[in-house]
Protein backbone atom coordinates (compact mmCIF):
# COMPACT_ATOMS: atom_id res chain seq x y z
CA UNK A 1 0.00 0.00 0.00
CA UNK A 2 1.48 3.36 -0.96
CA UNK A 3 -0.22 6.64 -0.44
CA UNK A 4 -0.02 9.71 -2.60
CA UNK A 5 2.32 11.84 -0.54
CA UNK A 6 0.46 15.02 -1.52
CA UNK A 7 -2.50 13.96 0.61
CA UNK A 8 -1.19 12.89 3.98
CA UNK A 9 -2.45 9.56 5.30
CA UNK A 10 -5.19 9.94 7.86
CA UNK A 11 -4.66 8.81 11.44
CA UNK A 12 -7.30 8.44 14.15
CA UNK A 13 -6.84 7.66 17.83
CA UNK A 14 -9.67 6.73 20.11
CA UNK A 15 -10.28 5.66 23.70
CA UNK A 16 -13.07 3.41 24.85
CA UNK A 17 -13.13 1.87 28.36
CA UNK A 18 -9.65 2.88 29.45
CA UNK A 19 -7.80 5.03 31.97
CA UNK A 20 -6.28 7.47 29.50
CA UNK A 21 -2.77 6.14 30.06
CA UNK A 22 -2.44 4.95 26.47
CA UNK A 23 -3.16 8.49 25.29
CA UNK A 24 -0.45 9.86 27.54
CA UNK A 25 1.88 7.11 26.33
CA UNK A 26 1.51 8.39 22.77
CA UNK A 27 2.68 11.80 23.97
CA UNK A 28 5.62 10.09 25.69
CA UNK A 29 7.26 9.82 22.30
CA UNK A 30 8.00 13.51 23.00
CA UNK A 31 9.20 15.67 20.10
CA UNK A 32 8.64 12.78 17.70
CA UNK A 33 4.96 13.65 17.96
CA UNK A 34 5.89 16.45 15.54
CA UNK A 35 7.09 13.82 13.08
CA UNK A 36 3.75 12.08 13.51
CA UNK A 37 1.97 15.33 12.80
CA UNK A 38 4.17 15.88 9.77
CA UNK A 39 3.49 12.40 8.42
CA UNK A 40 -0.22 12.12 9.18
CA UNK A 41 -3.35 14.11 9.01
CA UNK A 42 -4.82 13.51 12.47
CA UNK A 43 -8.54 13.34 11.78
CA UNK A 44 -9.87 12.19 15.14
CA UNK A 45 -8.30 12.15 18.60
CA UNK A 46 -10.73 13.23 21.30
CA UNK A 47 -8.08 13.77 23.95
CA UNK A 48 -6.04 16.17 21.82
CA UNK A 49 -7.90 17.53 18.82
CA UNK A 50 -11.40 18.88 18.41
CA UNK A 51 -13.06 16.64 15.85
CA UNK A 52 -16.39 15.12 16.82
CA UNK A 53 -17.99 11.75 16.29
CA UNK A 54 -20.24 13.25 13.62
CA UNK A 55 -17.13 14.20 11.65
CA UNK A 56 -16.09 10.56 11.64
CA UNK A 57 -19.62 9.48 10.73
CA UNK A 58 -19.49 11.82 7.75
CA UNK A 59 -16.34 10.19 6.36
CA UNK A 60 -16.38 7.59 3.61
CA UNK A 61 -15.79 3.99 4.65
CA UNK A 62 -12.07 3.22 4.68
CA UNK A 63 -11.18 6.90 4.54
CA UNK A 64 -9.00 6.71 7.65
CA UNK A 65 -5.74 4.91 6.93
CA UNK A 66 -4.88 3.83 10.46
CA UNK A 67 -6.83 3.91 13.69
CA UNK A 68 -5.13 3.22 17.01
CA UNK A 69 -7.97 2.16 19.28
CA UNK A 70 -7.31 1.89 23.01
CA UNK A 71 -9.75 0.83 25.68
CA UNK A 72 -11.99 -2.16 26.21
CA UNK A 73 -15.63 -2.56 25.22
CA UNK A 74 -17.67 -2.01 28.36
CA UNK A 75 -20.81 -0.31 27.12
CA UNK A 76 -22.94 0.33 24.05
CA UNK A 77 -21.09 3.52 23.21
CA UNK A 78 -17.71 1.75 23.18
CA UNK A 79 -19.23 -0.87 20.91
CA UNK A 80 -20.72 1.72 18.57
CA UNK A 81 -17.38 3.51 18.27
CA UNK A 82 -15.59 0.23 17.64
CA UNK A 83 -17.96 -0.55 14.79
CA UNK A 84 -17.76 2.98 13.39
CA UNK A 85 -13.98 3.16 13.43
CA UNK A 86 -13.73 -0.35 12.00
CA UNK A 87 -15.77 0.78 9.02
CA UNK A 88 -13.93 4.05 8.54
CA UNK A 89 -10.37 2.73 9.02
CA UNK A 90 -8.40 0.60 6.60
CA UNK A 91 -6.16 -0.63 9.42
CA UNK A 92 -7.59 -1.01 12.90
CA UNK A 93 -5.09 -1.54 15.70
CA UNK A 94 -6.03 -2.74 19.19
CA UNK A 95 -3.70 -0.41 20.99
CA UNK A 96 -2.73 -1.24 24.55
CA UNK A 97 -3.78 -3.92 26.96
CA UNK A 98 -7.47 -2.93 27.35
CA UNK A 99 -8.27 -3.16 23.65
CA UNK A 100 -5.99 -6.16 23.18
CA UNK A 101 -6.97 -8.33 26.16
CA UNK A 102 -9.34 -6.47 28.50
CA UNK A 103 -6.85 -5.24 31.11
CA UNK A 104 -8.09 -3.72 34.38
CA UNK A 105 -11.69 -3.03 33.18
CA UNK A 106 -12.11 -6.75 32.38
CA UNK A 107 -11.29 -7.74 35.97
CA UNK A 108 -14.97 -7.03 36.58
CA UNK A 109 -15.72 -10.10 34.46
CA UNK A 110 -15.07 -12.11 37.62
CA UNK A 111 -18.31 -10.72 38.97
CA UNK A 112 -21.65 -9.60 37.54
CA UNK A 113 -22.91 -6.34 36.11
CA UNK A 114 -25.35 -6.01 39.02
CA UNK A 115 -22.61 -6.52 41.61
CA UNK A 116 -20.35 -4.03 39.84
CA UNK A 117 -23.05 -1.37 39.83
CA UNK A 118 -24.01 -2.11 43.47
CA UNK A 119 -20.42 -1.61 44.49
CA UNK A 120 -19.95 1.57 42.50
CA UNK A 121 -23.26 3.22 43.43
CA UNK A 122 -24.10 1.80 46.85
CA UNK A 123 -21.57 -0.31 48.71
CA UNK A 124 -18.09 1.11 48.30
CA UNK A 125 -16.91 3.00 51.41
CA UNK A 126 -16.47 6.21 49.45
CA UNK A 127 -20.00 6.19 48.02
CA UNK A 128 -22.51 8.64 49.47
CA UNK A 129 -25.74 7.94 47.63
CA UNK A 130 -28.59 7.74 50.17
CA UNK A 131 -31.31 7.63 47.48
CA UNK A 132 -29.51 4.81 45.66
CA UNK A 133 -29.57 6.85 42.45
CA UNK A 134 -28.45 4.72 39.50
CA UNK A 135 -27.48 5.69 35.98
CA UNK A 136 -30.48 5.36 33.67
CA UNK A 137 -30.22 4.69 29.99
CA UNK A 138 -33.01 7.23 29.46
CA UNK A 139 -33.95 10.18 31.63
CA UNK A 140 -36.78 12.61 30.89
CA UNK A 141 -35.94 16.26 31.53
CA UNK A 142 -37.93 19.34 30.47
CA UNK A 143 -35.59 19.78 27.51
CA UNK A 144 -36.22 16.25 26.25
CA UNK A 145 -34.80 12.77 26.79
CA UNK A 146 -31.23 12.24 27.93
CA UNK A 147 -29.43 9.04 26.97
CA UNK A 148 -26.58 7.18 28.60
CA UNK A 149 -24.80 4.19 27.08
CA UNK A 150 -26.02 0.74 28.12
CA UNK A 151 -23.62 -0.98 30.52
CA UNK A 152 -22.91 -4.51 29.29
CA UNK A 153 -22.75 -7.60 31.47
CA UNK A 154 -19.12 -8.28 30.56
CA UNK A 155 -16.13 -6.37 29.29
CA UNK A 156 -14.92 -7.51 25.88
CA UNK A 157 -11.77 -6.88 23.97
CA UNK A 158 -11.86 -4.93 20.72
CA UNK A 159 -11.16 -8.15 18.81
CA UNK A 160 -14.21 -9.80 20.37
CA UNK A 161 -16.44 -7.09 18.95
CA UNK A 162 -14.97 -6.21 15.55
CA UNK A 163 -12.31 -7.52 13.24
CA UNK A 164 -8.89 -6.27 14.35
CA UNK A 165 -5.83 -6.07 12.08
CA UNK A 166 -3.02 -5.74 14.62
CA UNK A 167 -2.52 -5.55 18.36
CA UNK A 168 -0.04 -3.56 20.40
CA UNK A 169 0.31 -4.90 23.96
CA UNK A 170 1.29 -2.98 27.07
CA UNK A 171 -0.28 -1.07 29.92
CA UNK A 172 0.57 1.31 28.51
CA UNK A 173 2.64 0.45 25.42
CA UNK A 174 6.14 1.83 25.97
CA UNK A 175 7.11 4.97 24.10
CA UNK A 176 9.98 3.39 22.14
CA UNK A 177 7.62 0.65 20.99
CA UNK A 178 4.92 3.14 20.01
CA UNK A 179 7.39 5.08 17.97
CA UNK A 180 8.56 1.83 16.39
CA UNK A 181 4.99 1.04 15.36
CA UNK A 182 4.33 4.53 13.99
CA UNK A 183 7.62 4.48 12.11
CA UNK A 184 6.69 1.13 10.60
CA UNK A 185 3.33 2.54 9.54
CA UNK A 186 5.06 5.52 7.95
CA UNK A 187 7.36 3.14 6.05
CA UNK A 188 4.38 1.17 4.84
CA UNK A 189 2.37 4.17 3.73
CA UNK A 190 5.19 6.25 2.26
CA UNK A 191 7.76 3.73 1.11
CA UNK A 192 5.65 0.73 0.26
CA UNK A 193 7.10 -1.50 2.98
CA UNK A 194 5.05 -4.69 3.21
CA UNK A 195 2.26 -4.93 5.74
CA UNK A 196 2.91 -7.41 8.53
CA UNK A 197 0.65 -10.48 8.40
CA UNK A 198 -2.83 -9.76 9.70
CA UNK A 199 -3.22 -10.54 13.39
CA UNK A 200 0.42 -9.75 14.19
CA UNK A 201 1.42 -8.41 17.55
CA UNK A 202 3.26 -5.15 16.94
CA UNK A 203 5.50 -3.19 19.26
CA UNK A 204 6.63 -6.13 21.37
CA UNK A 205 9.16 -8.93 21.47
CA UNK A 206 8.79 -12.62 20.81
CA UNK A 207 10.24 -13.93 24.05
CA UNK A 208 9.28 -13.55 27.69
CA UNK A 209 9.90 -10.69 30.09
CA UNK A 210 12.49 -12.91 31.85
CA UNK A 211 14.59 -12.77 28.68
CA UNK A 212 14.89 -9.01 29.01
CA UNK A 213 15.39 -9.04 32.74
CA UNK A 214 18.82 -8.03 34.05
CA UNK A 215 18.53 -10.18 37.19
CA UNK A 216 20.41 -13.43 37.70
CA UNK A 217 18.34 -16.56 37.75
CA UNK A 218 19.24 -19.73 39.52
CA UNK A 219 17.41 -23.01 39.42
CA UNK A 220 14.25 -21.93 41.15
CA UNK A 221 13.07 -23.70 44.26
CA UNK A 222 10.43 -21.80 46.15
CA UNK A 223 9.36 -22.86 49.61
CA UNK A 224 7.21 -19.82 50.31
CA UNK A 225 5.91 -16.63 48.70
CA UNK A 226 6.45 -13.18 50.12
CA UNK A 227 4.88 -9.89 49.16
CA UNK A 228 7.15 -7.08 48.01
CA UNK A 229 6.71 -5.03 51.19
CA UNK A 230 7.74 -7.93 53.40
CA UNK A 231 11.38 -8.19 52.37
CA UNK A 232 14.13 -6.03 50.97
CA UNK A 233 14.93 -7.99 47.83
CA UNK A 234 18.47 -8.63 46.67
CA UNK A 235 19.00 -6.11 43.85
CA UNK A 236 20.68 -8.56 41.48
CA UNK A 237 18.80 -11.81 41.98
CA UNK A 238 15.64 -12.93 40.24
CA UNK A 239 12.63 -11.76 42.24
CA UNK A 240 10.79 -15.03 41.79
CA UNK A 241 13.82 -16.89 43.17
CA UNK A 242 13.37 -14.71 46.24
CA UNK A 243 9.72 -15.73 46.57
CA UNK A 244 8.20 -12.56 45.11
CA UNK A 245 5.46 -13.37 42.65
CA UNK A 246 6.80 -12.08 39.33
CA UNK A 247 4.79 -12.62 36.15
CA UNK A 248 7.95 -12.49 34.01
CA UNK A 249 7.85 -16.12 32.86
CA UNK A 250 4.26 -15.74 31.61
CA UNK A 251 4.62 -12.32 30.00
CA UNK A 252 5.66 -11.24 26.52
CA UNK A 253 8.88 -9.30 26.18
CA UNK A 254 8.86 -5.79 24.79
CA UNK A 255 9.01 -3.36 27.69
CA UNK A 256 12.73 -3.90 28.20
CA UNK A 257 12.20 -5.32 31.69
CA UNK A 258 11.00 -1.98 32.96
CA UNK A 259 9.58 -2.98 36.35
CA UNK A 260 12.01 -5.75 37.20
CA UNK A 261 15.01 -3.48 36.58
CA UNK A 262 13.80 -1.18 39.35
CA UNK A 263 12.97 -3.90 41.84
CA UNK A 264 9.26 -4.25 41.15
CA UNK A 265 7.92 -7.62 40.05
CA UNK A 266 6.46 -7.81 36.56
CA UNK A 267 2.69 -7.60 36.73
CA UNK A 268 2.23 -9.03 33.26
CA UNK A 269 1.13 -6.01 31.27
CA UNK A 270 2.54 -7.20 27.93
CA UNK A 271 0.15 -10.13 27.95
CA UNK A 272 0.82 -13.81 27.33
CA UNK A 273 4.06 -14.74 25.58
CA UNK A 274 4.05 -15.98 21.97
CA UNK A 275 2.45 -19.39 21.42
CA UNK A 276 0.46 -19.11 24.60
CA UNK A 277 -3.26 -18.47 24.52
CA UNK A 278 -3.75 -17.89 28.21
CA UNK A 279 -1.48 -15.97 30.55
CA UNK A 280 -2.93 -17.35 33.79
CA UNK A 281 -2.63 -21.03 32.98
CA UNK A 282 0.83 -20.29 31.59
CA UNK A 283 1.72 -18.83 34.99
CA UNK A 284 0.25 -21.85 36.78
CA UNK A 285 2.53 -24.06 34.71
CA UNK A 286 5.57 -21.91 35.43
CA UNK A 287 4.94 -21.58 39.16
CA UNK A 288 4.09 -25.21 39.76
CA UNK A 289 7.45 -26.15 38.28
CA UNK A 290 9.38 -24.13 40.82
CA UNK A 291 7.49 -24.87 44.03
CA UNK A 292 9.73 -27.01 46.15
CA UNK A 293 7.46 -29.66 47.59
CA UNK A 294 5.97 -33.03 46.80
CA UNK A 295 3.61 -33.09 49.74
CA UNK A 296 -0.01 -32.05 49.05
CA UNK A 297 -0.47 -30.28 52.37
CA UNK A 298 2.79 -28.41 52.16
CA UNK A 299 1.99 -27.42 48.57
CA UNK A 300 -1.27 -25.94 49.77
CA UNK A 301 0.50 -24.06 52.54
CA UNK A 302 2.92 -22.57 50.02
CA UNK A 303 0.09 -21.70 47.63
CA UNK A 304 -1.74 -19.90 50.46
CA UNK A 305 0.99 -17.29 50.06
CA UNK A 306 -0.43 -16.30 46.68
CA UNK A 307 -2.96 -13.64 47.45
CA UNK A 308 -5.70 -13.39 44.80
CA UNK A 309 -4.43 -15.82 42.16
CA UNK A 310 -6.77 -14.85 39.33
CA UNK A 311 -6.45 -11.14 39.96
CA UNK A 312 -2.68 -11.57 39.81
CA UNK A 313 -2.37 -14.01 36.93
CA UNK A 314 -5.01 -12.30 34.77
CA UNK A 315 -4.59 -8.72 35.89
CA UNK A 316 -4.27 -7.68 32.26
CA UNK A 317 -5.74 -10.56 30.31
CA UNK A 318 -9.05 -11.34 31.95
CA UNK A 319 -10.89 -10.39 28.76
CA UNK A 320 -9.36 -13.38 27.01
CA UNK A 321 -9.17 -15.79 29.98
CA UNK A 322 -10.14 -19.23 28.73
CA UNK A 323 -11.78 -20.25 32.00
CA UNK A 324 -13.89 -17.10 32.23
CA UNK A 325 -15.21 -17.89 28.77
CA UNK A 326 -15.72 -21.54 29.68
CA UNK A 327 -17.77 -20.50 32.68
CA UNK A 328 -20.00 -18.18 30.66
CA UNK A 329 -20.23 -20.48 27.66
CA UNK A 330 -18.51 -17.91 25.46
CA UNK A 331 -15.14 -18.53 23.99
CA UNK A 332 -12.44 -15.94 23.87
CA UNK A 333 -10.67 -17.94 21.20
CA UNK A 334 -12.91 -20.53 19.64
CA UNK A 335 -15.47 -19.98 16.94
CA UNK A 336 -18.88 -21.60 17.00
CA UNK A 337 -18.07 -24.30 14.46
CA UNK A 338 -14.97 -25.41 16.37
CA UNK A 339 -17.01 -25.99 19.49
CA UNK A 340 -18.06 -29.53 20.37
CA UNK A 341 -21.72 -29.65 21.22
CA UNK A 342 -23.46 -32.60 22.82
Amino acid sequence: MTTDVKTKPKLALYWAASCGGCEIAVLDIKEKILDVDAAFDIVFWPVAVDFKVKDVEAMADGEIDVCLFNGAIRNSDNEYMAGLLRRKAKILVAFGSCAYEGCIPALSNTTTRAATLDWAYRDSPSTDNPDDTRPQEETEVPEGTLHLPAFWETVRTLGQVVDVDYSVPGCPPQAHQIWGVLEAVINILYHGAPLPPKGSILGAGDKTCCDECPRTREEKKISGFVRPHQIIPDPDKCLLDQGILCMGPATRSGCGGLCVSVGVPCRGCYGPPPNSRDQGTKMVAALASVIDSEDPEEIDRILDGIVDPIGTFYRFSMGTATLAGARRGVSAHVSADERVTP
Binding site: A326, R327, S331, P342
Partner: protein, 150 residues
Protein backbone atom coordinates in the same frame (compact mmCIF):
# COMPACT_ATOMS: atom_id res chain seq x y z
CA UNK B 1 -12.55 -14.07 16.39
CA UNK B 2 -15.70 -12.13 17.11
CA UNK B 3 -17.78 -13.28 20.06
CA UNK B 4 -21.44 -12.57 19.53
CA UNK B 5 -24.63 -14.04 20.86
CA UNK B 6 -24.51 -16.45 17.88
CA UNK B 7 -21.45 -18.31 19.00
CA UNK B 8 -22.51 -18.97 22.54
CA UNK B 9 -22.80 -22.64 23.44
CA UNK B 10 -26.32 -23.84 22.79
CA UNK B 11 -28.46 -24.17 25.90
CA UNK B 12 -27.85 -27.49 27.64
CA UNK B 13 -30.42 -30.20 27.02
CA UNK B 14 -33.18 -30.55 29.66
CA UNK B 15 -31.94 -32.24 32.87
CA UNK B 16 -33.43 -35.66 32.09
CA UNK B 17 -31.60 -35.75 28.76
CA UNK B 18 -28.38 -34.15 29.88
CA UNK B 19 -25.30 -36.33 29.93
CA UNK B 20 -21.98 -35.08 31.21
CA UNK B 21 -18.91 -34.94 29.04
CA UNK B 22 -15.77 -35.83 30.93
CA UNK B 23 -12.28 -35.71 29.47
CA UNK B 24 -9.68 -37.94 31.09
CA UNK B 25 -5.98 -37.35 30.43
CA UNK B 26 -4.13 -40.59 31.19
CA UNK B 27 -0.38 -41.02 31.27
CA UNK B 28 0.96 -43.54 28.82
CA UNK B 29 2.95 -45.65 31.24
CA UNK B 30 0.58 -46.35 34.11
CA UNK B 31 -2.97 -45.07 33.86
CA UNK B 32 -3.55 -45.66 30.15
CA UNK B 33 -2.28 -49.19 30.55
CA UNK B 34 -4.52 -49.51 33.60
CA UNK B 35 -7.55 -48.42 31.60
CA UNK B 36 -6.50 -50.78 28.83
CA UNK B 37 -6.39 -53.60 31.37
CA UNK B 38 -9.90 -52.69 32.49
CA UNK B 39 -10.98 -52.92 28.86
CA UNK B 40 -9.31 -56.29 28.29
CA UNK B 41 -10.86 -57.53 31.51
CA UNK B 42 -14.25 -56.37 30.21
CA UNK B 43 -14.82 -54.06 33.13
CA UNK B 44 -17.27 -51.38 32.08
CA UNK B 45 -17.09 -47.78 33.07
CA UNK B 46 -19.22 -44.76 32.49
CA UNK B 47 -19.35 -43.97 28.76
CA UNK B 48 -19.30 -40.22 29.39
CA UNK B 49 -15.59 -40.44 30.27
CA UNK B 50 -13.47 -39.88 27.16
CA UNK B 51 -9.80 -40.78 27.34
CA UNK B 52 -6.91 -38.78 25.90
CA UNK B 53 -3.47 -40.33 26.23
CA UNK B 54 -0.54 -38.13 27.24
CA UNK B 55 3.01 -39.34 27.74
CA UNK B 56 3.11 -38.21 31.36
CA UNK B 57 0.93 -36.12 33.68
CA UNK B 58 3.89 -33.76 33.80
CA UNK B 59 3.05 -32.94 30.17
CA UNK B 60 -0.37 -31.66 31.25
CA UNK B 61 -0.25 -27.99 30.53
CA UNK B 62 -2.95 -26.35 32.67
CA UNK B 63 -4.10 -24.75 29.42
CA UNK B 64 -5.31 -28.19 28.26
CA UNK B 65 -7.71 -28.34 31.19
CA UNK B 66 -8.97 -24.82 30.54
CA UNK B 67 -9.41 -25.57 26.87
CA UNK B 68 -11.29 -28.81 27.54
CA UNK B 69 -13.72 -26.94 29.77
CA UNK B 70 -14.01 -24.16 27.20
CA UNK B 71 -14.81 -26.64 24.43
CA UNK B 72 -17.65 -28.19 26.36
CA UNK B 73 -16.26 -30.64 28.94
CA UNK B 74 -18.08 -30.69 32.28
CA UNK B 75 -15.23 -32.34 34.13
CA UNK B 76 -11.59 -33.30 33.68
CA UNK B 77 -9.67 -36.22 35.16
CA UNK B 78 -5.89 -36.30 35.15
CA UNK B 79 -4.53 -39.72 36.00
CA UNK B 80 -0.91 -40.73 36.37
CA UNK B 81 1.49 -43.13 38.01
CA UNK B 82 1.53 -43.34 41.79
CA UNK B 83 3.96 -40.98 43.56
CA UNK B 84 7.46 -42.32 43.13
CA UNK B 85 6.51 -44.40 40.09
CA UNK B 86 6.47 -41.78 37.31
CA UNK B 87 8.32 -43.02 34.26
CA UNK B 88 9.98 -39.61 34.08
CA UNK B 89 10.70 -39.49 37.83
CA UNK B 90 8.92 -36.27 38.75
CA UNK B 91 6.18 -35.56 36.22
CA UNK B 92 3.37 -36.53 38.54
CA UNK B 93 4.65 -34.24 41.32
CA UNK B 94 4.65 -31.39 38.87
CA UNK B 95 1.08 -32.31 37.93
CA UNK B 96 0.18 -32.40 41.62
CA UNK B 97 1.39 -28.84 42.14
CA UNK B 98 -0.27 -27.61 38.97
CA UNK B 99 -3.60 -29.17 39.85
CA UNK B 100 -3.53 -27.70 43.34
CA UNK B 101 -3.00 -24.24 41.93
CA UNK B 102 -5.37 -24.72 39.02
CA UNK B 103 -8.17 -25.80 41.34
CA UNK B 104 -7.79 -22.49 43.14
CA UNK B 105 -8.16 -20.69 39.83
CA UNK B 106 -11.27 -22.70 38.97
CA UNK B 107 -12.85 -21.73 42.26
CA UNK B 108 -12.07 -18.06 41.67
CA UNK B 109 -13.65 -18.28 38.24
CA UNK B 110 -16.81 -19.65 39.83
CA UNK B 111 -16.21 -23.18 38.58
CA UNK B 112 -16.54 -25.96 41.16
CA UNK B 113 -12.99 -27.29 41.71
CA UNK B 114 -14.44 -30.80 41.94
CA UNK B 115 -14.68 -30.64 38.18
CA UNK B 116 -10.94 -31.28 38.06
CA UNK B 117 -9.67 -34.44 39.68
CA UNK B 118 -6.12 -35.78 39.89
CA UNK B 119 -5.78 -39.49 40.61
CA UNK B 120 -3.07 -42.14 40.59
CA UNK B 121 -3.85 -45.36 38.74
CA UNK B 122 -1.16 -47.94 38.07
CA UNK B 123 -0.94 -50.30 35.10
CA UNK B 124 -2.39 -53.13 37.18
CA UNK B 125 -5.31 -51.15 38.58
CA UNK B 126 -7.99 -51.72 35.95
CA UNK B 127 -10.70 -52.00 38.57
CA UNK B 128 -9.41 -48.87 40.24
CA UNK B 129 -9.62 -46.98 36.94
CA UNK B 130 -13.23 -48.01 36.33
CA UNK B 131 -14.11 -46.98 39.87
CA UNK B 132 -12.47 -43.58 39.40
CA UNK B 133 -14.26 -42.95 36.12
CA UNK B 134 -17.63 -43.94 37.59
CA UNK B 135 -17.13 -41.84 40.69
CA UNK B 136 -16.23 -38.82 38.61
CA UNK B 137 -19.24 -39.32 36.35
CA UNK B 138 -21.48 -39.55 39.40
CA UNK B 139 -19.94 -36.43 40.86
CA UNK B 140 -20.33 -34.44 37.63
CA UNK B 141 -23.93 -35.63 37.22
CA UNK B 142 -24.69 -34.29 40.64
CA UNK B 143 -22.93 -31.01 39.88
CA UNK B 144 -24.80 -30.68 36.58
CA UNK B 145 -23.58 -28.97 33.41
CA UNK B 146 -20.73 -26.44 33.58
CA UNK B 147 -22.93 -23.49 32.88
CA UNK B 148 -25.20 -24.25 35.83
CA UNK B 149 -22.34 -23.17 38.12
CA UNK B 150 -23.15 -19.60 37.22
Amino acid sequence: MVTTAENRVPEAAPPDEWQPRIVAFLCNWCSYTGADLAGISRIEWDPTVHIVRVMCTGRMDPTFVAKALELGADGVIISGCHPGDCHYQEGNYKALRRVHLLRRLLKDFGIDPQRLRLVWVSASEGVEWAKTANEMAREIRSLGPMRADA
